[in-house]
Symmetry: C2
Subunit: 324 residues, 2 copies
């Protein structure tokens, strides 16, 4: 079993299979949806892996569950901890709740009340910090010291990457003869998991990462050959603002075919189009793959393309195409 | 094969099986989704049959396809016609397009442009009328006379009812041991189809119809023992404003356990709740069943309940919980 000292390089396909067995009782094998309308529009055959229907509303529950249920009783006894105001916080709270251990979440006091309520709804224990990196790190260190909880990073953790990798394990069973898989890229957890599975089981399938133009640090890292981290990117795709770290860079630098970007308007248009035609609620982050597919017919047309729809936790009172 | 002279009383389960074979190439066998959150909230086990993922975005494509593909070449040669500004117009246009025959749709000139565009997008030929029953009937008579097209009523047509009945045929295969099925009621096409299938194949399953308080003509008809038609009900559930007719009354009066109603706010709350927790886009009409389930725990708690989610064609620019 992987531990906190493992790195991305240590990961094997056996870790993915083990993760899948471990987390199966706590996750959905999410459905794959298709849309003849979007196929017509893109010229491709698109297969949407709907992680917006996942437990806790996002793929992140795969990695969080793998980390939580992979702990020994001794390691688990003080619970788990993380700093996140997004889907990882929800997912880790959900997984910890299922195991019956505490989950400590450090969140900025300025985070939306709806997000705080959602974390509490899954049983997470929130400690608020000021909205700065310094305060977050100091607060998190204090929480960890006081509780002795096991830190589970949102993406820079091999146990988390192995968990996310189970998504494409299912996709390969659900859809035959894929040519390409596209997933959004933020910190790179989902893309790394996708690389881990496909490079082992279907190395001919090309992997594209989709990123907002306004948070294109992964694209610039990919071109430069080393990690470039942005300070505070601003994009509607709020799940994709975080930078790559060493464990995800390992996969992105080796196995990703290209990082493609889309503008804010292209992302919003693709998001609305999916709601309209596929009747699914998904986050702006999940619309980035469709946006780059529609923008790059030279890459995607005529191909069988798996699209990871990463999550569905949206503030329904503030939709990006409705001016408030 | 049923023809235009058949009535609801002539329908048998064989008509449903024939309809299913006939329309299978043109429809989706839609998935059934569950939500542990909504199960917790209702105290019931809910199985959502997701016709919002259906072709043309609604269950109505089942009945429309059965009518269109059941026509002889002679009957079909002049195409089909209907008056509707909703999902039936879309569905009939879709089905006619698949058969390669024209579909004439009479719509009020005041109908939203988005609806007109959607019908045209599926190949429907629109003739506009004034927004009154007199004008609609006169215009429709003229269109029918000029084109010789076969009239397919949105719901008061046994061919359409047999088509809608295929939805619960699939549901019975997908979910075992149902105690109850709930569907919204407007003109009664879906409820009648549900009655047709369940009264034959699973007569122990109770059927509840869900209706907006502000358009409660089916409830009042049910209590009175004869059809009561409202003139112009006003409700957010705009698919449910039409009255029962003789072919649907046949089923509602015989096989429905009860008609339960919900207020506008209860419908909107249930709609938003479904979008939030199930991550699916559905119409206000589809939220009425969940609203009545949450309102009547004495009826539904502890039961295994099938819920027909009838369609997903919503104006995403005007959501009922966002004040414009």
């Amino acid at each position: 079993m992987l531990d906190i000292n493992s790195t991305g390089q240590d990961l094997t396909i056996e870790d993915v299979r083990e993760a899948h067995e471990r987390i199966k009782p706590y996750i959905h094998n999410t459905p794959v949806l298709t849309s003849s309308y979007l196929d017509g529009l893109s010229g491709a055959s698109l297969f949407f892996k709907c992680e917006n229907f996942q437990k806790a509303g996002a793929f992140k529950v795969r990695g969080a569950s793998n980390a939580v249920f992979g702990l020994s009783d001794e390691q688990a006894k003080n619970g788990v901890a993380t700093h996140s105001s997004g889907n990882h916080a929800l997912s880790l709270s959900y997984a910890a709740g299922r195991r019956g251990i505490p989950c400590h979440v450090v969140m900025p006091r300025t985070a939306p009340q709806a997000k705080k309520d959602a974390v509490k709804g899954y049983g997470g224990i929130i400690t608020e910090c000021e909205p700065s990196t310094t305060s977050r790190e100091a607060t998190f260190a204090k929480v960890q010291e006081e509780t002795g909880a096991e830190f589970v990073h949102p993406y820079n953790d091999p146990r988390v990457i192995a968990g996310q990798a189970t998504c494409s394990l299912e996709l390969l069973e659900q859809v035959k003869d894929l040519d390409i898989v596209v997933a959004p890229i933020g910190g790179g957890g989902m893309i790394s998991g996708t690389c881990l599975t496909l490079s082992n089981l279907a190395p001919h399938v090309k992997i594209y990462a989709a990123e907002p133009e306004q948070a294109d640090d992964a694209m610039r890292s990919f071109k430069a050959g080393h990690i470039i981290a942005d300070d505070a990117p601003v994009t509607v795709a709020d799940g994709l603002k975080v930078p790559l770290k060493e464990n995800t860079w390992h996969f992105v630098s080796q196995f990703v075919e290209d990082v493609l970007t889309a503008s804010e308007q292209e992302i919003i248009d693709a998001m609305k189009l999916t709601w309209q035609r596929m009747k699914i609620v998904m986050e702006p982050s999940c619309a980035v793959p469709l946006a780059v597919i529609l923008k790059n017919p030279d890459v995607f047309a005529g191909k069988r393309v798996g699209v990871i729809v990463t999550g569905g936790n949206v503030d329904l009172d503030k939709l990006p195409w409705i001016k408030g």
